[in-house]
Symmetry: C2
Subunit: 194 residues, 2 copies
DNA sequence: CATCCTCGAAAACGAACGTTCTCTTACGGT
DNA sequence: ACCGTAAGAGAACGTTCGTTTTCGAGGATG
């Protein structure tokens, strides 16, 4: 019971922190705003997260895990290896269409704090590496050359920032079109080489 | 003479501000750091830029103009329309290779302040629009379908963030490879349709 | 030489932030 | 019923930041 309550409090803090940090940027959000949004008094908040830095890192780590999990769950609804690759961009389109979409939280936090906090820089790098590995697996499963992964990564990343700044989800569609072309070309290369 | 000196002071402030804002993020840099780095006393600094906000906007606008100017100058050294498109990615490679490269200053400032400052969000959007228009002109000159522009934009943007977070300039090469493939495919489409 | 103006260096101010402390209240075990 | 403990609400503290003001030293002009 006690542990459950502690967990619940931690979740409430992280939920509030994520909405605020992602929505307004990390340095623009004071601990008081998180206190107000979560309803958790400062005392308890600091018992669970001894500093703002640890809260920021916890926010990023939880978002990292959930983001990749949600992506994989969406992709897993598709069977064909090439459809699974293209599904990544469909998922991005849905993400970009959320009303409070504001770009990739890891790109944002890296830009804001990457130079000041090694921990934030490391988490952002780890997140992007994990995304890259996930794409690499999809590419390998489609019998496409590994080189395709290197091309899909900037395509997806660029769609995120272009969608954020332009305020439109369309970059996901355009990136998907490009991915389809690259996929076909990569496959043709393999066939030609054989 | 007076005007020349005023210009020089303004340049010195903007030079210091650009290095610091770009290198550490905007909110991590205090006005005192800019005073120290530029050697311009706070009093004069505030005479020229009445607030940190105006200095930030001046930093972004100057960087916007110079960035696109430098890119165009590099591209103009190439003649063939397709080579001019690919040259964009060569230029990105050189940029990513600079020792203190830290991503696109506009993506970074949008992520950090876009939600809090409409002015910053607008400048970032204008910068990306200008880049997009520039690419669109190159695409049109190569007789490629306008659709290609939509594919090249996320490719270039994604190369910027991937290079920044990974700490390697290679994403520019991979993006260039992808661009070459997309260019060929787009051209083949045009030929087929004809 | 006296005077006014300018200008650089740094102190000072008010607000905001991260963090800690205090005070009051409520509860659980004997 | 009583006491020790925990916990919520928010005041308080020390620092930092953006911005303003003060102070003192030239430099040109009568």
């Amino acid at each position: 019971m006690i542990e459950v309550e502690l967990e619940t409090t931690e979740q409430r803090i992280l939920d509030a922190a994520e909405e605020l940090f992602y929505g307004r940027g990390i340095q623009s959000v004071g601990m008081d705003a998180i206190r107000t949004a979560s309803g958790v008094p400062l005392k308890r908040l600091y018992q669970i997260f001894p500093s703002k830095d640890t809260l920021v890192e916890a926010y990023l780590k939880r978002r990292d895990a959930r983001w990749l999990h949600d992506l994989a769950r969406y992709v897993d609804a598709h069977d064909s290896p090439t459809q699974r690759i293209l599904a990544v961009f469909d998922w991005l389109y849905r993400w970009f269409s959320e009303p409070d979409y504001r770009g990739c939280g890891f790109i944002n936090s890296f830009g804001e704090l990457g130079a000041t906090s090694q921990a934030v820089a490391d988490i952002a790098k780890a997140h992007k590496d994990a995304f890259r590995r996930y794409l690499a697996d999809l590419v390998a499963a489609a019998d496409a050359p590994a080189r395709l992964t290197d091309q899909l990564v900037p395509l997806a990343e660029g769609a995120m920032t272009t969608a954020a700044i332009s305020g439109s989800p369309e970059p996901a569609r355009h990136a998907k079109d490009a991915a389809r072309t690259l996929l076909r070309a990569a496959h043709a290369d393999v066939v030609t080489a054989a």
